[in-house]
């Protein structure tokens, strides 16, 4: 039995159904542990006070926003090259989670910036490229939504995701260069003070929790997409009658 056997939506559907509870429970447990470490055990930062604790949400969200874009582009490319339906569905299912993570990273960044930098928003290189990343996610989803034919939508959005992957490094470095040309950021994010070990552990556990949540959410969305697209097939009808 090869693993490609699950490339068929019909077989992937029950597999995803069995996997979702595991990832969801792990996400919940890891979040509890991570928040306990972050909010209770980790020491108060001597420079930033308690405000720094938002990093336990902010940093994992920012990591996920980038990782999910790569995962989305990867599955989009697989769907484009091998013409596999499931890969395209995975790419489409990942996009909203990625967009939420990007939004969450920006939002928590603003919440952290107000007490620390004294402003909700600075045109820092990372903030700006994260904002453009959000626009790229929105573009991917809008393009997919405005094409009625599913296969065409999948392929067009996949191409856009790949163009985005080529562009993201260019955007990041150009924004960084633009920022250094204009004025130095008020606080450098790159020269972060060395972090206490408990803080690091809290962040890593939370990052794992975000991974688990993202996988569970993407799988759940994939199941919905499968049902939506395969609603005419016999196995879906049998499933609906059984339910």
């Amino acid at each position: 039995m090869s693993w490609t056997r699950y490339a068929a939506p019909q077989r992937f559907y029950p597999l995803a159904g069995r996997m979702i509870p595991w990832f969801a429970v792990l996400a919940l447990l890891l979040t509890l542990v991570g928040l306990a470490i972050g909010l209770l055990l980790a020491p108060t930062d001597h420079q930033q006070g308690e405000a720094y604790r938002i990093i336990f949400v902010h940093v994992p969200a920012a990591w996920m926003s980038m990782i999910i874009y790569l995962a989305m582009a990867f599955w989009a490319a697989v769907g484009l090259m091998f013409n596999t339906r499931l890969a395209s569905m995975l790419a489409v299912a990942l996009a909203p989670t990625g967009a939420w993570m990007t939004f969450l990273a920006l939002w928590t960044g603003a919440l952290w910036g107000k007490p620390t930098w004294g402003t909700w928003w600075v045109w820092d290189a990372r903030l700006t490229s994260e904002l453009i990343l959000l626009f790229l996610y929105i573009g991917f989803m809008s393009l997919h939504a405005s094409i009625d034919d599913e296969r065409r939508a999948d392929r067009a959005a996949a191409l856009l995701a790949l163009v985005g992957v080529v562009n993201v490094p260019i955007i990041y470095f150009s924004v960084q260069w633009w920022n250094t040309l204009h004025q130095g950021a008020s606080v450098s994010l790159t020269k972060a003070p060395s972090m206490a070990t408990t803080m690091l552990w809290g962040m890593l556990v939370m990052a794992l929790a975000f991974w688990m949540y993202s996988i569970a959410a993407a799988l759940a969305r994939t199941r919905t997409i499968i049902l939506e697209r395969e609603h005419g097939t016999r196995w879906v009808r049998q499933l609906m009658e059984a339910a």
């Binding site: 067009a156 150009s174 924004v175």
Partner: protein, 238 residues
């Protein structure tokens, strides 16, 4: 408008790809020349957007000098988005695009020819009018030249990146807004280095680095964008 549009004249079999490319290029230019109102509207839009800014922010030259490069560049970005809708839409509507896809000439090269013609009929006009707008913003002679040159390097880049978006959205409802949504974020680097060059010139710094980066991006886009746009057209018309 009443005159029929030029059609693609069949090229002699011996003329090969080069003949086909030349035919596409000349036809698109001829269409642009015959539809002067369409071609000119993007240019007028450009001038109007730029002229609105002083009304919005106030007429102090000190402020305008600082804002000028960015304003002109953002307006150029928007104006080229406006013009891009026409790149493939008409050919898609009358079936010419399908003929292009069937032709033995590589589609990416045909896309390049169409984009080049489109740029000549839109981007170049923006470049030519830009010194006049530089005067409105009191940019000074050197900065005006740099602005003109940065647009000369940057507008083909906008056309090339935009061609991908135009190909992806061909034949869709609400294609115009969607096109801007897809393409504008990808154009951020062009804006940064284009406007940055003028600001560097104003500050008395060298503009070589900005122009080099714009040129490098242009070469990269010349190589990759027609391929991506061709793939997008095949997806749209399969």
């Amino acid at each position: 408008m009443s005159r029929p549009l030029p059609t693609l004249e069949p090229t002699a079999p011996s003329s090969g790809s080069w003949g086909a490319l030349r035919a596409v290029f000349q036809r698109d230019l001829r269409i642009a020349l015959r539809r002067r109102a369409d071609t000119g509207s993007a240019l007028v839009f450009f001038v109007i957007v730029v002229s609105l800014f002083p009304l919005g922010v106030g007429p102090q030259f000190e402020l305008l000098r600082r804002m000028g490069p960015g304003v002109v560049w953002v307006a150029a970005l928007l104006a080229s988005m406006l013009a891009l809708g026409r790149l493939f839409a008409d050919d898609h509507a009358d079936g010419t695009l399908e003929q292009l896809l069937l032709s033995p000439t590589p589609l990416a090269l045909l896309v390049l020819a169409k984009t080049a013609a489109h740029w000549l009929a839109s981007g170049v006009l923006l470049v030519l009018i830009s010194p006049l707008l530089a005067l409105q913003f009191d940019l000074g002679q050197e900065a005006a030249w740099v602005l003109c040159l940065s647009l000369l390097l940057g507008t083909p880049l906008l056309s090339l990146i935009g061609a991908i978006g135009a190909a992806l959205t061909v034949g869709l409802r609400g294609a115009g807004v969607l096109l801007s949504l897809l393409v504008l974020p990808l154009c951020a680097p062009v804006l940064i280095f284009g406007a940055g060059a003028v600001e560097a010139a104003q500050a008395g710094l060298g503009v070589g680095a900005h122009f080099s980066l714009l040129g490098a991006m242009l070469l990269l886009a010349l190589l990759l964008a027609p391929l991506a746009a061709a793939a997008a057209l095949r997806i749209a018309l399969e």
